[in-house]
Amino acid sequence: MFRNGARRDHDTGPAPEALRLVKVTKSYGTADSAVTALDGVTLGLGRGTFTAVMGPSGSGKSTLLQCAAGLDRPDSGIVRVDGTELTGGSEAELTKFRRGRIGFVFQQYNLLETLTVVQNTVLPLKLAGRRVDRARVRETLAAVGLGDRLGHRPDQLSGGQRQRVAIARALVTEPRVIFADEPTGALDTRSAREVLALLRQAVRVHGRTVVMVTHDPVAASYADSVLFLADGRLAGRLDAPTADAVAERLAHLGDETTAGV
């Protein structure tokens, strides 16, 4: 079901890409009432980068993330994660593809209420049938500042703490790409800053690739670069962003007609 894409040689080409989308199109609904959420999006993200995806509501941000992360199937186009092409198949096949390659952090945390912090963190490993390295799990949780809350349940934690559990859970499988969907959307500013710093640390220290969908210019300023999305198309890119520059660009998104990255 999944074939290995031709990887470029290290000498000749640029750094291997963690994520590559080619002319990805996705629309919802049928016939007359169809809404095009993604309109031929092509992009490539290098390994070890932190990218924010921004755009107004309905610009296709979430659809982009879901298609890139194998949560949804694009109508057409190619999605390649870590050089391996995602070619549809059943949900079970998509799930197996995601395991080990992709980690998630969601706005609503999506921790299981019946499990403790440690159990939530090791759940992806258990489900994938991989060996659980207790010491490493403990280390990861300590790194996100939850070393003393291992036996707590999600409802005993604050929003920021829950999101940090989610980050630890995403890190522990050592995925190629971590997708974060509005990870700070439900947090106060201080918790948000901690979470963003942890995501940046995942990139800098652990060499992960992080793709974050957000509507907050401050959150986006933590990324290495920002991709702008409007009406299902890429509408520009900003490297080494500052919150002001992002907000400025976002405000004038409708005026531009730039495309391609």
Partner: protein, 431 residues
Amino acid sequence: MRSIRQRPGRFLATLLSAFLGAAVIMTFNSMHDTAGRPGVDPVSAETLRTAAGVVGGYGTLLVFFAVASTLTVNVRQRAAELELLRCSGATPAQLKRMVVGEAAVVALVGAALAVVPAVLGGRLLLEVFRDSGQVAGSVDHSFGVIALMSGIDITLLASAGAAFLALRRATRGRRRHGRARSFLAYGALAAGTAAVCSTFAFSATDGALMAPPAYGAILLSVGLALMAPRLLEGVLGRLAPGGASGWLAVRNLRQRAGDLAGILMSLILFTAVSTATLTMQAVESDAVAASGLVKSVDAKNLETLNFTVVGIIVVFVCVMLVNSLYAATTYRGREFGQQRLAGATPGQVLGVVGAEGLVLTVVGLLFGTLAALAGIVPFTVVRGDAVLPEQVFGVWAAVASIGAAATLGTSLATARRVLRTPAVRAVAATA
């Protein structure tokens, strides 16, 4: 009222239990009407009155429990809606009126729908009595005021009362981990043990021999059912299954032991009551057949009643079981979505649900069987000479397979349906 029209599906279970309850009550109470007709001989009238009295009483209890169980689930599902109404200025009294009113309407509709089946059922029942010679062949069926009024009144009262209790439990928030509950549980266990022991005071041919062990078994099963959450926790403490699905299932069950008590309760009651009654009846019939005696009218009455009562209980408990499992599983769509996003394949999620269902089934059947055996063994020791009658195996196998099929079938089929929603949307829907 409008909320019923908007979501007829949610009231279907309540309607079904009201309908079934009303049908059963009316069917049997029409025997009162029939007995009251002029020209019915005293023996026939007596048979009819006993049948109506016993099953009518059972029926009232069952309607109450069944409607209460479906309504509790219903109210819990609508907790968000009720909270919203409260926030937008509805007083508790208004909410109460709304929920109780809805339940009353559903009960009325159920009772109205039940009239025709009850008339037919009453005719059928009378025919059974006539064929077995318990009632004179000349007696005609009559469906009159008693049947109609009692059916509607009981269904209405049971529904309104159940709705009131369900709402009170929902708005009270935290349930009291009641001392009352343990008291009741121990009381039922003690009374059950006493009843079972008193079996030995009867002689083998006593007409009422079947009563103490049967009631004992029922009381014991009620006691065990009330202690269901604690029993479940005890069993789970000893479980350590392999595989991710099993691991997750045990952890889920440990956390949700309290919520699952209702399901376990139905299962225990179902197993105990049907196994005990059917086995004892089979032993009794065989013993009478072996002795070459012809059954008296009373014995025949008892047999008919036993089978009817068990039939009614089986149907009701199945409705309750299926309804609460269906609701509990539907409610978990978000949790399933989270499991899938954490890397569980749909097969693994079904595995979790299956493992949970299996544990519930095994625990329910185990304790149900214990209660049933506690009644059966004294009965057979007194009636025959064996300790364990051979009839018990066939009966138990049938009861166990029905219980297991209902539990596992409902949870897996519902989970399958819930899993059709894409994981991302399932998580977002009730966020």
